[in-house]
Amino acid sequence: MAVPEHDPLTGYKTTGHEWDGITELTTPIPSWWVTVFLASCFVAVLYMWLFPSFATTGGYYRGSLGWSSRGDLVDDVAAGRAAQATWRSALVATPIEAIEANEDLRRFATTGGRAAFGQNCAPCHGVGAGGQIGQFPALVDDDWLWGGTIADIYQTIRFGIRSGHEEARDSAMPAFGELISAQEIDAVARFVLALSDPTTLASRQQMPGAPIYATNCAACHGAAGEGGRDFGAPRLNDAIWLYGGTLEDVRKQIVVPRMGMMPAFTTRLDDETIRMLSVYVHTLGGGER
């Protein structure tokens, strides 16, 4: 049985198949669809030609535009630097002590410094640099371990503290647990606590801990517990404690001292950012002139 080439109702061609009297139309694809399809193919080929698209024997095809996301980045970073160029070069050209005297430069530095502080320092020193008792010092007060002038702060941030960097601030309090008896440790711990208690002013030198302190501790912490910045030894005659001010805390520090470690940031941040951070920290409240 011959199947009609054309369907009498629609006038379109049939496939020429017939199953139990049912035939199938080969309705052509609408021309708008074919146009869009061919245009898409064209765009795809164009795209492959313009942009990096396929592996070749010697690497990959780089595209006729020579575009790369890494190249874009170089331009983006350069544009960002250029927008801040005046301020950034002024930051580096001005001696660090003189930055704050320039009102505009100080504003630029503290704004940038605050942002960098949030990303790099806040996890340890706390948002707003309030410190974390028992671990990380506050930077908003005027109680400094290593020094609170802007040059001191700049150095601390660049090289860190016990960071392993060759120029890092470094010192180690001896572990007295192996050097003096438990009794002596207890006595000297009580003496340390008395240093910040004004009611013991007259009697404190008679305490059994006093001579132990004079022999073992005064070289770093000072005869009256005023601290020693050359060693980063904290003041012991105030109420600000790095590792806690209870008898137990102090005893623990004497037996096995915890030595705080802060990473060096020269390897991570550029000099401009470190200067901004220095200005930010210095202007938080406790900065020394």
Binding site: H17, E18, M261, M262
Partner: protein
Amino acid sequence: MASNQTEPKGHAIIERSTTLLFVLTLFVILIGGLVEIVPLFKVQETVRPVPGMRRYTPLEQIGRNVYTREGCYTCHSQQIRPFRDEVERYGHYSVAAESMYDHPFLWGSKRTGPDLARVGAKYSNAWHVAHMIDPRSVVPVSIMPAYAFLMNKPVDPEQFGAHMEALRKVGVPYTQEMVDRAADDIRAQASGEDADAMLERYPKAKLGDFDGQPDRLTEMDALIAYLQVLGTLAELPPIDTKVEARP
């Protein structure tokens, strides 16, 4: 069932011959296969080597396994993308060579927490310990889970050589010496003692007690040893070096 009298034309030729249909189908699939597979053979040439990269030390690799097991990659990526905001925050964008010893790689695709590709040397060991035991103790707003139990999970240095052997089978080029000395290297890194031979095998490895428990070797030691090495090995040119001028 009726058949057409006329000779088949066009696609009807293919439709009516099983063999032809099979051969042509195979041909079309092969094109797709080649496009996907050929680049794999060229990986060696595509990954540009970077000075400084080395295999993970056994202790770091144990830490890496803990990282994988605990699913840290579900919240942390290890992949800095080449965008200005990312490089300003995290540092140089990640390059392929930095993952060349990763089996499996842990790039991740979700950032509930920050990217960790360059977290090495950003914090002290003491900070990591405090943060892993209770993230809220150092970052009050953190939503990261606590992993305090790692402080009590011992690591057995003796068993790890076999694991390195297995890694070697999937493509990490550990030498026989590295496999044989695994236990010694783990102890040397975690104690900092007699570490010269180990440092020769794995330059720039961080040494010492990581978890603040010098008398014990725990998974916390291993995890922190791993975190502290992330992003510290590759020696990359400054970010604004022109692409063409890169090695």
